[in-house]
Symmetry: C2
Subunit: 379 residues, 2 copies
């Protein structure tokens, strides 16, 4: 064998191993970032910047391909269900034939690497877990303040007011139809949340001798299928001071309505949160006024909002949003739920939140469906 | 040359190129993430998770070394100045001799790669720019809500109240001592901030016919050295409704005091923000009440806080914090600034913020230095 052939072989093996090394490193980084994303909402929110930084060899010419590919893999792996109108998939018009070839080559290579490295990094999460944050937050984060991830909901905490900014749930019919075999014991007191510093958290003493009781933002009744998830809804971060009469009637009926919709349509995404609405004092003179309770000065909201986003399991049309605003006082228990229907832009204005990431709102501003009358019969 | 030698050479070149490829990919990812970090505070805040995910080959056995190394490189490259007590450097006790060797080998390799790849990825930012977010936010983010990065300050925006949660500046003496040659024209109206949606932003009409004027959280007087930075302090996100009498006297003196400290100690970090304090209505009955202005319902805070963290340029002792709370009403202009000194824990409690990342507070809770009397003579 001549020296030239040996040198050529060395060069070929060197170049190919160089590329394989870079791909392996990139693939493992991708996988680890994705496994971090399962529990860390901030990393999840930054995923575009991070993934484009991980683009192979950092060359900007490959950026387009990579971002299209990662976008595709996100929508494919992390956003299950009917994601038309929300999928971040690639636009075929913007990718050239060469890019397609590169894409195919890289996908094949990454599959091979994925197979090879299964033994190296076995801390990859199973597919179901990868969906966790992405599945609940399919319609985006309304705000980015102090986000906490729980088993069945994601919550943004308002440390100034000691209550949540918003709570987002993904209510599924599977969980509503089954029931945990173990007895679901309602705890005597709400559970302290260790993720939130004690100075910024409410406690049971704050609720003593007040006109309000603790209400759940994410209803524990949605999670009777699993006693762990059920108990999680009793954490203090999910509790907000609510008028007793409101909690037992109108708010309870609104929660029942959400469960009905989930049973009818397969799954609904629900955003729930407090609002602090201004009152008119004199002409051109408005002010916000709300009570605070106990040593921790827990804020008592003046109103609550609930936004329900439903999508049909069998019909992949655009999702439909409904917004409700309920005042935090005693409300006549026979009132029609439809009278609390509210423009989502008003909720956004007063709560300072942005639903559905803002951009896609035009597609979603369809006329809302009036709640069925069946919720009155359930009373 | 025998076939065996050729095969061995191929194998060696393959393995070494594999490692080099992985290192090159890792290095470029690191560099790109760092350049994203310059402007994106969320990526900056997630840097630990991201860097540990980029650890070479993803093996957990190298995690310790890598996190120590990246921690070191962060404190070395991104946190200039006297960072004792805040440096994230490695603890020599926790790194074995072998780890040291690996560390040295990787540092050398990365230096070589850095030299090699300078021509490949030339979008690396110069050293000075890399310090931007890290330099201003040396003492951590008090909260993570809707953060915006400007040339001279970092700001967390409260979309519900249409004012900032907090503004953090790094006031340096260089900028205070020089003055831009161009004329610094105070704009007639505050500048709209395109980074904040118009629905969540105040405008000039909101301030018309009200009892309050616009006050700056980050004072434009701190940035007379650069007309661009000077104008940036006139953006609406930096403006908050303030009592005219307070703005012209006590607040102005407090800002002067900050500049004096910056001139004396080289640089100070300043956090400024609004507070909404509860008032007692009856026994055990407290409530928060504040005015809102105009169509955008811009909140008028009841108080303002200012926290000054100073560190001596020539003396690397622990930094010293001072907290001031000023009510948003007319205050007798001859009052001593020291009477507004306040416990930082109280500011944290009512503003819902956490300064100095919480952990290091024990080291910082030194008795505060009383403001010098010279600020009275400047009046």
């Amino acid at each position: 064998m001549s020296t030239y052939v040996a040198v050529a072989l060395c060069a070929i093996s060197g170049v190919s191993c160089f590329i394989i090394g870079a791909l392996v490193q990139q693939h493992l980084s991708f996988r680890k970032i994705k496994s971090v994303m399962v529990t860390d909402p901030y990393v999840y929110q930054c995923r575009r910047q991070i993934f484009s930084s991980l683009a192979m060899f950092g060359r900007s010419s490959e950026k387009l391909t990579t971002s299209a590919e990662t976008g595709h893999s996100i929508s494919g792996e992390l956003e299950p269900g009917n994601s038309r109108g929300f999928s971040e998939g690639q636009d075929p018009g913007s990718v050239s034939t060469f890019d397609h070839f590169v894409l195919w080559g890289r996908t094949t290579a990454q599959k091979a690497i994925s197979y090879m490295t299964l033994s190296v990094a076995q801390n990859g999460h199973p597919q179901e877990k990868l969906e966790h944050v992405a599945g609940i937050m399919k319609y985006g984060f309304p705000g980015m303040d102090d986000i906490h991830v729980y088993k069945n909901f994601v919550l943004s905490y308002d440390r100034r007011n000691r209550i949540a900014h918003w709570v987002c749930e993904h209510v599924r019919d599977e969980c509503l139809m089954s029931r945990d075999q173990r007895t679901l014991n309602k705890p005597n007191a709400y559970i302290a949340d260790t993720a939130i510093p004690a100075t910024f958290s409410a406690n049971m003493r704050d609720f003593k001798n007040t006109d309000w009781v603790g209400g759940h933002m994410a209803s524990p009744q949605n999670y009777k299928c699993d006693s762990v998830k059920f108990l999680e809804a009793y954490k203090f971060s999910n509790i907000v001071p609510i008028n007793r009469g409101l909690k037992n009637h109108i708010w309870f009926r609104l929660e029942n309505y959400v469960r009905e919709m989930a049973l009818e349509y397969g799954s609904v995404h629900v955003y729930t949160g407090p609002m602090f609405m201004p009152q008119r004092i004199t002409f051109r003179n408005w002010s916000v006024r709300y009570h605070v309770m106990g040593m921790n000065t827990v804020a008592v909201p003046t109103h609550f909002f609930k936004i329900i986003i439903r999508e049909d399991r069998f019909n992949s049309e655009l999702p439909i949003m409904e917004g409700y605003v309920v005042p935090n006082t005693y409300v006549d228990k026979d009132m029609d739920l439809r009278s609390f229907l509210s423009d989502i832009r008003d909720i956004e204005h007063f709560a300072g939140l942005k639903f559905c990431d803002g951009q896609q709102r035009d597609q979603l501003d369809l006329p809302v469906r009036a709640p069925s009358m069946s919720d009155l019969q359930n009373d």
